[in-house]
Amino acid sequence: MSTATRERLPESSTIQQGPLRKPPTWKSPIIMGVLGVVALLAFGLASNAGDTSTFGMSTGAQRLQIPALVLPTRPAAIVLSVLCLVLAAVAAAAVRVKRPVPLAVPIGFAALWLLAFLVWSMAGEQVPLPGLLGGTLLLSVPLVFGALSGVLCERSGVINIAIEGQLLAGAFASALMASVTDSLWIGLVMAPVAGLLVAVLLAMFTIKYVVDQIIVGVVLNVLVVGLTGFLYGRVLVQNADVFNQPGTFSRIPIPGLIEIPVLGPALFNQTIIVYLMYVAVIVTQVALFRTKWGLRVRAVGEHPKAADTVGIKVNRIRVQNVLLGGVVAGFGGAFFTLGSVGAFGREMTAGQGFIALAAMIFGRWSPVGALFAALLFGFANQLQGTLGALGSPIPSEFMLMAPYLATIFAVAGVVGRVRAPAADGQPYTKA
């Protein structure tokens, strides 16, 4: 759609900066303003005057105990909404002088707005904050691994719809192998191998046979669902003691770091898979944006012909990245079985691969962005569970919808437009 291409909003990414930049539009300050007013009216002024919202601040695992934070609901929500409106005004001021709105403004806005929402929705209740954050983290782990797989593939120009399949394959292989060998570690090693196998098919069909990348992804998902479901029904269920009892990794508290108030128990009392995730995010972020290899990958994803001209092997880089993505997603699959449930179940990934895809897009094709997007989605999911238990004012289904709605808004450019690598999805064949 070329009109859309021409109307595209300016990007904060480095590629589009320079003389091409157009003045920012009023869209985002207006939306932030409206949301701020909504927060002020609905969360602040409409709540009961006498209620308090209580945040638990420590867990039993910590030596240092902090007393719970008791906030009067109405004043706290009003203060937070007003802060939201201040940020909206900052954005408006920036647009007025034709400067781009700094990225910190919308992120800060989102955080404050969510906090206001949280304070309002738990009026008269108590929620342990470390538990809320820890649950958020756990729900986002497979999303982060999946999204990283997507980032690796798509930065090199191959669309990866098969994240779901890679996660599921990883979950299946890790459960099966860990049970058969009686070793969680072997299970953890086999998960990326399974993800890799799916990636091999993806690379073979998209790069060697030049089949439409989206078609291959969609069909591979069906294939993996079928294969794992078949073997699950025929083998795993028949003899669950031998084939489907891998057990789970135990938590490893990191001494020292766990004492950090609130964040410590949430971030540093986790399983090995979660620590692997931290490493994976940092390594991919640095590798993609701070190394020669990363520059080549991005060149291949943005302008394969130019990359080819300077001697970069376009399709070799793409194959490498697709395979690497499969490995990363495989670890995410292991989290389902070895990191949380402790057994494989039919279609147990339940569409998480597609939320991971959404997180990748929402995170603008960058590892750290994907991490925060995944955390946001995980938070929505966790909040839905927590509030569901408390009796929330909003139906849980709408909280579950939030990640998907947010992604639609993001790709439709409601709040700043996301842009994929230029050659994403286009096969490269030498003339």
Binding site: E7, V222, L223, R234, K305, Q426, A431
Partner: protein, 411 residues
């Protein structure tokens, strides 16, 4: 191959080696040959899976070198049993005692095929307009919601009720897909992303509705709607021994309708033109945005029809699992049918038969129905990459054709 669209020269100067006219000139014979070989290959891989997963085969494999025939025999019989059950469940049950019981399977296949055909048409029509509609699943859910609500909440005379239920399903399905079309036309948001997201939103919307008093069956705590009135049901065509309903004829008519729309109408010409080259179409004065929206809306209304078949054809009440994965099967149906309406009808019949047969196979031999997914996806993978099939069977190339529909997220 009709699914293939031309590369857009202005946007992608780097892919001149892409097969275009050569692919389209390739005759029917080549396509049919590749299709048949793909099905055979997929069934062979399925057979290997059945054999490997069979407990008796595993047992005999442990002394393979002492008595190899034991294992081969076990493998042979397990595959033969499973595929025989598949055939009995899909086409003709030659072991059955009565005639109706013997021919019931084929009618059951057609029952499974009806929603697959219309949903496949929904995906295929979008293909021809250059759009990848992954959202049939969500559109089916919306269609089912519409048909069910009209079916149980309104009281209307015989034919009117049924027609209105179908219309409501088409409207809601069309509206749901229309959102994706509108977003694509106005903002350039890629339809693959938006339709995937709309699938999940539809699923949660359905879950929410089934918890409201308007939709939940009185006296029930689980998410299920009241039963649809019998006036709204699609009439059974063969009597009470078979579930075959009027939906089959509607689906076939829809196939003709889509063929007419694409090949004989002005709108269809515009849709195909935009699918082939939006830039040239714009230059020629076609409203690309409107065509995009129209294509998605029509596709959505077809998928909505599939949702209606589920409710007023077979299920009678709305539950969380009403879409039953038809929306995803529809993608494979459309790909197998290569975007051609009649091809899609045939592909829908084949996959309907596989589904009906899979149910019987699971019940009689314990072979999980998931095998059908494997076979289905392999068929499509093989078809999508003709060079692979040719390499396996050592057939001489008649032009290198691979499926290309989408043009990347930014297109």
């Amino acid at each position: 191959m009709s699914v293939t669209t031309d590369r857009i020269p202005e946007k992608t100067p780097d892919a001149p080696g892409e097969p275009t006219s050569a692919t389209r000139r390739r005759g029917w014979a080549g396509d049919v040959l590749i299709t048949v070989l793909s099905i055979v290959l997929a069934l062979v891989v399925g057979a290997v899976l059945i054999a490997v997963a069979d407990p008796r085969v595993q047992e005999t494999a442990s002394y393979f070198f002492a008595r190899p025939l034991d294992m081969l025999q076990a493998a042979g019989s397990s595959v033969a049993n499973a595929y025989a059950a598949l055939f009995k469940g899909a086409i003709f049950d030659y072991g059955a005692e009565t005639t109706t019981a013997a021919i019931r399977p084929i009618t059951e296949s057609l029952v499974f095929a009806s929603p697959l055909v219309v949903a496949g048409l929904a995906v295929g029509l979008a293909f021809r307009a250059g759009l990848f509609n992954i959202g049939a699943e969500g559109q089916i859910i919306l269609g089912a919601i519409g048909a069910a609500y009209v079916g149980f909440a309104w009281e209307l005379p015989l034919v009117v009720h049924m027609v209105l239920a179908l219309v409501a399903a088409m409207l809601l399905g069309g509206l749901w897909a229309g959102i994706a079309g509108f977003l694509k036309a106005r903002t350039g948001a890629h339809e693959v992303i938006t339709t995937i997201m709309l699938n999940y939103i539809a699923r949660f919307l359905l879950a929410f509705l089934l918890s409201t008093t308007a939709f939940q069956r009185p006296g029930r705590n689980d998410p299920i709607s009241p039963q649809v009135d019998s006036t709204a049901m699609l009439p059974q065509m063969l009597g009470s021994w078979s579930r075959l309903h009027l939906g089959l004829l509607v689906a076939i008519a829809a196939g003709f309708g889509v063929w007419w729309l694409l090949n004989r109408s002005t709108l269809g010409f515009k849709l195909r033109a935009v699918g082939a080259n939006p830039f040239a179409s714009r230059t020629a004065g076609i409203d690309v945005g409107w065509s995009t929206f129209a294509a998605m809306a029509i596709a959505g209304s077809l998928a909505g029809l599939a949702g209606a078949f589920q409710i007023i054809g077979t299920e009678r009440s709305l539950t969380g699992g009403v879409s039953a994965g038809i929306g995803f099967d529809a993608i494979t149906v459309a790909l197998l049918g290569r975007g051609n309406p009649f091809g899609i009808v045939l592909a829908g019949f084949l996959f309907g038969a596989l589904k009906a047969g899979g149910v019987t196979m699971q019940a009689r031999t314990g072979t999980p129905i998931d095998l059908v997914f494997v076979v289905q996806s392999l068929i499509v993978l093989f078809i999508a990459a003709p060079p692979l099939v040719r390499a396996i069977f050592r057939i001489r190339a008649q032009g290198a054709g691979s499926m290309q529909v989408s043009k990347g997220w930014n297109a």
